[in-house]
Symmetry: D2
């Protein structure tokens, strides 16, 4: 058994960034079900995020999405966040919700549309300067729906050119995180469909360009932990967008669909040095039918549980069994950690940090859910189409 | 070679129903891109559908979707359609866009919600009586997003009960078409996820209950033509919802992603007697980024081309090769038909029917596209969220 | 919490049938790696299986595969098994390893080959009479590799005819278990590819025909527990072939790839009354690179652990949360059971039954592995192609 | 329309390498069905391959597989080939069929096994020197079956080290082609599972290291033509292993499962300059149930037909429609080429080259099939496990 104190210490340092948009309404193409008490402003989102951090102690930063979280004064927004005990985190761009982007943004056949998209990305870096954010996260909905619709290779050239312009604008200590996704909203080609494409672009850009692994963005059967191990080995794993999926990019709570997979991913993070290095853990989820704040608390806890199990792997015993070629024993060492019930350990960690051992119970007892339902009446609720 | 005259005769009889909603705006959860000239009313949708039939001669009926196409006077709507050269077709229900349906409709844990959903379905049968429609097409978005969320089996019991109530209301000559779908919008369980489930329910209901095969609703790797052959053998193939997909339920133009698969499906229809029997051919597509009317014309033509190839299969030679166990020759007979360029044949069939041999060109030259852009200004465009 | 005594009592009754072929050599199309000490005869397989039962107390029966386990005197073989503490179980047919079966067996285009296949199946029923086996498990490799190769529908007719002949031969208390599989070894069509096809055939045959769910035989993304719930609701779930997979029919140890899925399956079994009814739990695995007997012991334990967790679900709390539409709480109730470490409970159950709490350790200490390596020298090891 | 003479000229230059092992017996893990007349020696394989070239004029080289095609005198073998009108081509290594490779070859935890594997690869380069082959094709079956079995990252280190040793041994003008594969025979991790991994290794090795795209080695839903376009853009597409699949690595005849996909791939090759550059077109197929030589002739023809259609794409019209953002017209330009029946064009090309316009018919009439059945009696037929 790895020394327990070290495990606890590691768990105490873990931070999971929550996304502002997960507090707003979301849905499928068929329907967005509105929920009561949903935030109407960036500040209300931050207030909700602060509650997640208050009860988990593990969600100290909040990712913003531009333009959904556009405000006049980002310094004031940052101050508001800090007053509530959290900080502003990653800036996420949006180049998919303007009518101009029907055929793409940075890969669009028309130069004017590409220029508009790049301008938006540069604006995001301006916002990073104002908020003090380290990371710019880029996800492009760019792609095509029909064979022949556009030239696959020319689109790569346009993409490379746009990324280079934005990369050149990054300040010291700022990073560009490039996300890949198999499909959706494009249904034939996607311009950054897999880790290889994102990696190839990052290589050319430079060391401040890193790959984001969204756990819901792969083809069926893809071994995600292999990608994690490979990107860590290459020094190119910048961040995770955590969520879970049974089919496509379902954006369910992380750990809800395949907790064993999440554990295996976290084990590769730990083993590859990603737990202490600059790998950002972020959630990117949609709580379409369940209550949003408790779903996010639960998600943070799920990441913690998977991490605790990963930290508990007896790496000496594992290495010995692997070296001996003992397939069953090596597997057993890993499963022994996975099968451990780490909830008591995490309760202890929380109590030692002055937190309630039961974050969900504490949230429920806090009355926040009732308060926001009562307070947030009128106005336009935040949502994806805001 | 099958006698060409018979092939032409068969092609002349083929009818593909177009769905009213395909003429309106649609999109993904990320964005609906509005297009100019899109209809604002059921009548404007019918007018567009009439153009598709005018130029293809193969789209004589239009499926309605309730409530999107709800009107006060269905007889008047039917008259309007007939004045434009088309007829009202299948009635499609909608039990997924009301806030009450967050956790399901006919499978919802609360009896009141189930009652509301069943009432809607019964209303649809009333509308069928008014429109003279033969078919009620049922697709349920019901399902769950998380393990444990609801009881899988109890939901089946509720589903069976609701279907029985609606089936009992059907008049002579009316049919219930039950559609299955692997996932979306539900992400963990779907209450009618596969043909087996739809078939089992139809069996218990009676002969007027039939299964709908939507070509985009299967797991990766599913052999759709096998399902078609099996349902025809069981006498339970009621209809197709045609579209195409690369990944999930992409709802692209039929024949755009895998034209060989469409040919194989049509071959099983022909071989299984489905071409002359009561199998309804319908489109169910979303034209998110392409012009809608020409996309629908193209889709009808794609179905015709696949059908023509299927009709051209030399079934005598195929049967002989199959009986002889000659794998390569049997495959070659099928491929010979598939590799034939049937566009000249279809051009002939059109000309012999007094149509332009080039439906897309004829549509473009007709000026309809320009006219609707000029005329349909102001008002609310039709769309999924109508 | 469900009353613990009842859970323990249920666990004590659980029986997992192990397959004789899992004790022999197996591999992929690329290579079969031989292992030392592998059985050379049916009796040696039974001796190994008896060890699994000796240390788990949960594997009292052994499935045979004909012709791999063909002997002159089945009564003697049964006696040998009983002398070693186990019994003969399900009879598995083989209609895929004779050169005549290149294009299929019961679905072959030639009547003579179909006759040969049916004769083999009838022989298997004869063997059941001799061994006292209840179940005949039928898996057909039948299918086609190329479009057009054979007539999909005619093959269904041939299949139905063969099944009817075998069904008619079943004695009272004997069952036919029909297994489905998406693909492999056939690569275009498979004649029983999904549960719907198996179910449709069983319905026509009669109540002694039941469906087998092999957990590795589905398309990516298939919700297996839904199928389990549905088949139980229809009274047609006859048996499981347990194993696990990441990609295709990988035949890894059950519970090794997705233990949460196994738990969800076992929950549906418990919830649907399948734990006490006539649902046979069987392993169908290949231990290509790992030691075979300990892999089978581990597999039995994995099934027990998933079952224990399923039995621990607080069904009252779950039903209450489901009825209230509380998505997160309902999910939490299920996860609470899953996250429980049930290994101490199973250790207790074993000790209370006079077993070693650690079956794998006890097996290792027993010296059996060393003994069979020393003893089983010379002769032909058992394997799939035997 | 691209000028027809240029299209014909391009088609006349196309060469498809056939693999020696496709002439031998193959099968699945369930059964290898032996066929009459199958070669027993490398020379007999070459004689069969020469027939494919004789009738297609498009298969001038033959890939060897070591050790299956190991001979004492490679110069003599090369002379034999040339006497029959073909040349020796790519050398394929085999590090998966020795008992030592149970847990891997170049990634094995034991240094001695890795050394043995590297020695084999170096031997293959020696053979290349003797045969004058340009390309060494490396496919590794390396991987793991169970989580924890071995260290994912350490295996990458071992792989990199082995590849570097072999790369250093390459002579001028020799290339290393690295193949990736999603899974099989390994079922949990594969050490080179995707193009990104192969690409990352090739980048580090140098310009003589290139990626091989086997069309059957991807996850469901992967857009292969995107990978082709990307690798060509990166200058790292070394070769194709053509075949087709419906499910996994089915190794069916290329073009048999999704001819439209093959066309899209060939279009990207043409568009990306791969048709004239150093991209090798090779078959890698298994003819388990169909006659081998005609299946290979058919496969070569299928590649030619897809290529002809790709060459016929009106690239000027396509570029114009793409630039205009006309989704339907751009798709229509591509489909127009695909829907063309190119068989008459290819018949012309053949006749102009002095070949029979119908290669399959000519082969059948040649009597070769009957001759080899009569001649090749006795001896051990070639096969995968040879």
């Amino acid at each position: 058994m790895t020394e327990l104190a070290a495990v606890k210490a590691a768990l105490r340092t873990q931070a999971v960034e929550t996304p502002s948009w997960a507090y707003g309404n979301s849905g499928t193409r068929f329907k967005v079900f509105a929920q009561q008490g949903v935030p109407r402003t960036p500040r209300e989102k931050l207030a909700d995020a602060a509650k997640v951090h208050e009860f988990t102690g593990a969600a100290p930063t909040v990712a913003l999405h531009i333009p959904w979280d556009r405000v006049d004064d980002y310094a004031a927004l940052a101050g508001y966040a800090e007053d509530h005990g959290v900080r502003l985190g990653t800036i996420n761009s949006n180049t998919f919700q303007d009518d101009d982007y029907r055929l793409g943004s940075v890969c669009h056949p028309e130069a004017a549309v590409r220029r508009k998209a790049v301008d938006h990305l540069l604006e995001c870096v301006d916002i990073m300067d104002a908020t003090g954010s380290r990371d710019l996260k880029l996800w492009f909905a760019d792609g095509t729906n029909y064979p022949g619709q556009d030239d696959i290779r020319a689109r790569q050239d346009r993409l490379a050119q746009a990324l280079a312009q934005v990369y050149a604008r990054l300040g010291d200590g700022q990073r560009m995180l490039l996300e890949y996704k198999l499909f959706e909203p494009a249904f034939y080609t996607t311009d950054v469909p897999d880790w290889g494409t994102a990696y190839a672009h990052c290589l050319k850009l430079g060391p401040q360009a890193q790959v984001v692994v969204d756990t819901g963005h792969h083809a069926p059967g893809t071994n995600i932990e292999f990608i994690v191990a490979t990107l860590l080995r290459e020094g190119r794993l910048g961040a995770f967008d955590f969520n879970s999926r049974f089919y496509a990019d379902d954006d369910l709570m992380v750990g809800a669909a395949d907790p064993f997979q999440l554990f295996r991913i976290m084990y590769e993070v730990v083993r590859g040095g990603g737990f202490t290095a600059d790998v950002a853990f972020m959630l990117d989820q949609c709580h379409n039918i369940e209550a949003k704040i408790p779903a996010i608390i639960r998600s943070v806890m799920n990441v913690q549980e998977a991490t605790a199990k990963a930290l508990l792997v007896d790496r000496g015993a594992l290495a010995a069994a692997q070296a001996a070629g003992d397939v069953l024993e090596a597997n057993a060492v890993l499963m022994d950690a996975y099968n451990t019930d780490v909830r008591p350990l995490l309760a202890e960690v929380r109590e030692e940090s002055g937190l309630d051992p039961d974050p969900l119970g504490a949230y429920r007892r806090s009355g926040w859910a009732e308060k926001i339902v009562a307070d947030r009446v009128g106005g336009l609720q935040a949502g994806w189409g805001a």
